[in-house]
Subunit: 310 residues, 2 copies
Amino acid sequence: MLAPQRVPMPGLPSAVTIWEVGARDGLQNEPAVVPLDVKLEFLERLAAAGLTVVEATSFVHPKWVPQLADADELISRLRQAPGVRYPVLVPNDRGLDRALALGVREIAIFGSATETFAMRNLNTTVDGSLAMFEPVVRRALSSGLRVRGYLSMCFGDPWEGEVPVPQVVSVARRLLDLGCDQLSLGDTIGVGTPGHVTALITALGSAGVPADRLAVHFHDTYGQALANTLAALQAGVTTVDSSAGGLGGCPYAKSATGNLATEDLVWQLNGLGIETGVDLAALVRTSLWMADHLGRPSPSAVVRALAADL
Amino acid sequence: MLAPQRVPMPGLPSAVTIWEVGARDGLQNEPAVVPLDVKLEFLERLAAAGLTVVEATSFVHPKWVPQLADADELISRLRQAPGVRYPVLVPNDRGLDRALALGVREIAIFGSATETFAMRNLNTTVDGSLAMFEPVVRRALSSGLRVRGYLSMCFGDPWEGEVPVPQVVSVARRLLDLGCDQLSLGDTIGVGTPGHVTALITALGSAGVPADRLAVHFHDTYGQALANTLAALQAGVTTVDSSAGGLGGCPYAKSATGNLATEDLVWQLNGLGIETGVDLAALVRTSLWMADHLGRPSPSAVVRALAADL
């Protein structure tokens, strides 16, 4: 199997934490509903491939995300690998109740940088969503949980168009001030480019948010995710979200909104000599296996290119 | 149609020349043979979309590249747009004869950084290939032509594996010393990553080759082409090769070796505020039209994502 030559680039971190979102953000956006046993095996294989943060599921109402309706049973049956974190998405108080009842140690909330997406996704304003999250985060923290904040539409919004950097910085600050220990900057529609990434991270730094409290969450809709990742690494970010096999958006559909594929990210980081702990061959095998279950090829370039060698 | 927010990145050039290779490197690697009239319309549409360097064809023997067997008729019938350059690939003396007879103003030769690929592609050693190119370049220059040198396998070789940077620098210097005014560094199998790009361009600079004599030619086999492009721009390169619609490698084949898609590149450069002169919508329409002729969807992320809007 081919591999990139290892040539570090000056100024980049020596290690990166990959925040694997395939089982949550990936599967929730796939048309097929994956059986619970397959999900459990998927989570086990991701951990076995060396991923140390594996977002497991979402405690959203099954009416909105039927793909993850088995969240409670999944968490109770999951055999957690030692040293691996399994955060879950929690949209509200009821979701937190479910997470706490199951002994979850880490949650994530999901905010929006734009009013339109807040209304469409959360059925409230940006202010309203922050007011809704506030007691959730407070109760989670008082129960000893870690809380991550997702911030979507940071680089553009399909209804509003351009999203000003100061607007993103403002919502980001407020999410962090709730008590989130990390903020994941989402390019939900994949329109961002590297200068925009640099500008946002720089502006957050000027507003008192250091890069080590940030993660980036890029979509490959316009092929920009890895170049944007490089810009983020250059700006000091060391946590990158990605989805095994690019789960979460069929590349052949009209509006492909696929997550950055973990394999494509690992290829880049391997070439840069940046430590991830991931066994790329094991991960590609896992994504090929999942693609079989979903009945379609993986959109990941690395998965496709390496498939024949494994 | 969505567009990236325009946010320049410090240290990048204000303009980039896109060297469009779809009609030559693209079509020569497509299984289907495209009719001459379609090729002529393709070249006209590429120029009309604002591309200023459009590699037109190759004067290689038709036995080796039947897809381009119509090279002479194509050049003689081509209606050249004012201000647009139409270089052609010329493998040897016989090819140069054909180019000169047709009044071609600009040629490219195609070398290899590795012995194995030189033997497989040119049926000679690296030394042998340079000896073969020497009289071709001399005669072209004495006829007032511009000569570009392609250098393949700069970032890895499928048979030899890793390709040491000093080896690439050595062959690169020798190609330039023949009289090439520009050298295009090819990641022929797409394995390169950004640190490797930086290292090679830096090493070439130390060997007396400034970045303004370089171009980069990346393949998206492992999804790395745009991140590598960003690294090249940061290192001072201002000419980037790409292929409209990603022509030149079917993404569904076992060994997809697709060129970087011009549309994906233009999206990135538009976002970075880097001038290219390209009308993205016109280019996407051209690639959709060509995909119809080829009977398969374009592998370009931007073409796929924008197709529904046009």
